[in-house]
């Protein structure tokens, strides 16, 4: 397997609700355990990353989660403040509040400006080599193109100015497949798979960034081989024996197994469709790996789930971890 964790900047995206934050948190944890200095950043500041690590709150200032692992949330205002301090060297930093608010408004209307502040911060961390790997819990697949594509849009629309100059080195990092990659998270369901296929098609064309992996999350394991499945399918013929031995709830146990198998089969068909599209498409890099993470029947997001996903990823990605 190619070194997903050997990249400098790894974007993790996917349709809303597929578990992309847990996956991003787990990827960062694995990277840190393998000895890489790792930063993980939540872009939409909804607090999902904090829940994944069971911490109260994350901020723009990175918080230490574990050895070699720090986590932060993106803030356009803080990013602008840092940017002005580092590059523009304008002295009235103290009065940035109202300024940032107005800037926020311009950024809302002007294409790519808001996004580039976030992307710029991440690229800056990469360029300065503050970390070995920056994992981004990015926007959902519907918005990721405008996020990663912001420097390209700016470079096309803005002809002069500081921002324009900045886009060049950002694009160098973003378009280098050895440095930047996008991991697309999906669940084995119709809409997430369809959206993933579409995203993979658009990604290269519209942003210049490369897909690095597809991560199939919440995949139900195969329960039975063919013989066992045949027998399971015929158990209705012996339902009275089951009820005799185990009581009135036995048919419900059977029903549960059936539902699970039906779900698994539907999901497997969607993953096949995804696999086919990966081999068909010219846009997508050859042999893009599909990393599988099983359904954990978890009670909710949290450190425990992240740790379990991390265990799977250690095996799937074949990473050597010290801890």
């Amino acid at each position: 397997m190619t070194g997903l964790l050997d990249l400098d900047l790894l974007w993790v995206t996917g349709k809303g609700g597929v578990g992309k934050t847990s996956i991003a948190a787990a990827l960062a944890e694995v990277a840190a355990r393998s000895g890489r200095r790792t930063l993980v950043c939540e872009m939409d500041a909804k607090g999902a990353l904090a829940s994944a690590y069971d911490v109260d709150e994350l901020s723009f200032q990175p918080t230490r989660i574990a050895p070699d692992l720090e986590a932060m949330t993106m803030s356009t205002e803080d990013s602008l403040r840092e940017y002005l301090r580092l590059f523009v060297k304008i002295p009235f930093i103290g009065r940035i509040g109202p300024l940032a608010k107005t800037f926020d408004f311009v950024a809302d209307a002007a294409p790519g400006v808001k996004e580039i502040l976030g992307v710029g911060k991440l690229c800056y961390e990469v360029r300065e080599r503050h970390y070995d790997l920056v994992v981004v819990d990015a926007e959902a697949s519907g918005h990721i193109i405008s996020q990663i594509g912001a420097p390209k849009v700016i470079a096309e629309l803005v002809k002069v100015g500081l921002v324009r100059d900045q886009t060049e080195w950002m694009l160098e990092i973003l378009n280098d497949r050895d440095r930047t990659g996008v991991a697309v998270v999906t669940t084995p369901e119709e809409m997430p798979v369809t959206e993933s296929i579409e995203l993979l098609r658009r990604l290269r064309r519209e942003t210049g960034a490369h897909a690095a992996a597809v991560i199939a999350n919440r995949v139900l394991p195969v329960m039975f081989d063919r013989r066992q499945q045949e027998l399971a399918d015929r158990l209705d013929e012996a339902i009275d024996l089951l009820v005799d031995a185990a009581g009135e709830g036995a048919p419900t146990v059977l029903q549960a197994a059936r539902l699970t198998e039906a779900r698994r089969r539907t999901g497997a068909a969607h993953l096949d469709r995804l696999r086919d599209s990966l081999t068909e498409s010219d846009d997508v890099a050859d042999s893009l790996p599909i990393v599988t993470v099983p359904e954990l029947f978890a009670r909710g997001p949290g450190r425990r789930v992240v740790a379990q996903i991390a265990e799977t990823l250690v095996e799937e990605l074949d990473v050597e971890v010290g801890r």
């Binding site: 519907g142 629309l157 803005v158 100015g161 369809t194 013989r227 066992q228 059977l254 029903q255 539902l259």
Partner: protein, 392 residues
């Protein structure tokens, strides 16, 4: 009459909302079919980017903003009896914006200048959640034509389901904002006040004055359309709180979607918008969570080591004596089923609890079971409509 039929008969507009991936589009389409089954007249489903197979099942290959009637033959072939006519239209943001500009532009010059502005496309596809606003716009439009007795809108997926409720208000705010005024003052004659001077300096240095000029040019044109835009946005806003409008919140009973659904239900209440029903989609059967089933699962695990596998083998093979291979297989199957039952039961128990929480806040709670396979034809949608109708 069922809760569903009551709802569809008493409202003129139904907005289907909820987080992404919960099956909004399919539920909206099924509600359209349900309405056409029971009511005479014209029903329209306005949808956004449906799964392609669903689109083609409805005969929707090349549909844009213009409503297309679903062929009665398609219904007949699927065994669905329709009394009314069902129309479907797809939301097309780009075409929608062009349409808006054409309508509100005071003259041909402004219109053409806006449509030809290089920033136009980029800006319209981004600012003030234009998707959400356009869905509302089109709803208003289609309702105003009077051609439809009922319009069902499948709302666009947004990061925050609230953004759709606030979209018209934001559009009004935008036109009244300082930003727009500042941007549209001719660039050279801008009065540098003490307060704003630092901003110009920074903006100039960071963005480049040429870019700011481009933006300004665009918004000068845009401002010429202010009156039309603001009047429309207010009309759209009024429509959202109109008693003839109802929201249907769709969710699965997983953690994140049901959390979002609860939040949305509260937000509707705050805004005095009417909640018609909550639809819990893809729900596991409630009996999975009952103690009886759990007890049986434990008993089965024990029985798998006893004589039950041999009995099953005899029954299934139709032999006097149990075949060893079948017995072993049966034991394995029973053990697996029993030991994995807990996982499914846990999910079902959690779902039951979330369902109760949502039910407390909903005037009507429609539960749709998890169905085997995806729905992608009119027959499947008809079955889904039946589920919605008979959901308790």
């Amino acid at each position: 009459m069922s809760d569903l039929d009551n709802l569809l008969a008493s409202r003129e507009m139904v907005l289907v909302a909820g987080s992404g991936g919960v099956g909004k589009t399919t539920i909206a389409a099924a509600m359209g079919i349900a309405a056409a089954q029971r009511q005479k007249g014209n029903v329209l489903v306005l949808t956004v980017d449906p799964a392609r197979r669903l689109a083609s099942a409805l005969g929707l290959d090349e549909v844009g903003n213009v409503p297309v009637r679903i062929d009665p033959e398609t219904f007949a072939a699927a065994g669905v009896k329709a009394r009314g006519e069902l129309y479907v239209a797809m939301l097309d943001t780009k075409a929608g914006w062009d349409e808006l500009i054409r309508r509100h532009a005071p003259d041909v010059e402004v219109r053409d200048a806006v449509l030809a502005n290089p920033l136009y496309q980029n800006i319209t596809s981004r600012f003030v959640q234009s998707h959400d606003y356009l869905a509302m716009e089109q709803l208003h439009d289609l309702h105003a034509t009077g051609e439809f007795d009922l319009v069902i809108v499948d709302t666009p997926p947004s990061r925050n389901a609230l953004s759709i409720l606030d979209a018209p208000g934001r559009m009004v705010d935008f036109f009244g904002s300082k930003l727009l005024r500042w941007l549209t003052v001719p660039y050279r004659s801008r009065i540098f006040t003490v307060a704003s001077k630092p901003f110009y300096q920074v903006a100039d240095r960071v963005l480049g004055s040429r870019f700011l000029q481009d933006i300004a040019d665009f918004f000068v044109l845009f401002q010429a359309m202010e009156r039309g835009f603001v009047r429309r946005a207010r009309a759209v806003e009024a429509l959202l709180v109109d008693p003839r409008t109802a929201f249907v919140v769709v969710t699965t009973l997983e953690t994140a979607p049901s959390h979002e659904a609860k939040f949305l239900v509260g937000a509707l209440d705050e805004r005095k918008m009417s909640l018609g029903a909550v639809v819990a989609n893809r729900v596991l059967p409630a009996e999975l969570a009952e103690p009886e089933a759990a007890a049986s699962a434990m008993a089965l695990l024990e029985a798998a080591d006893g004589r039950l596998p041999a009995r099953i083998a005899k029954r299934l093979d139709g032999t006097e004596r149990a075949k060893k291979a079948t017995t072993t297989t049966a034991a394995h199957v029973l053990r697996e089923m029993a030991s994995r039952f807990d996982d499914v039961a846990l999910v079902a128990a959690r779902e039951a609890e979330r369902r109760h929480e949502l039910q407390a806040a909903a005037p009507a709670m429609l539960t749709v079971p998890w169905l085997d396979g995806d729905i992608h034809d009119v027959r499947g949608l008809g079955e889904l409509a039946e589920h919605l109708r008979h959901a308790e």
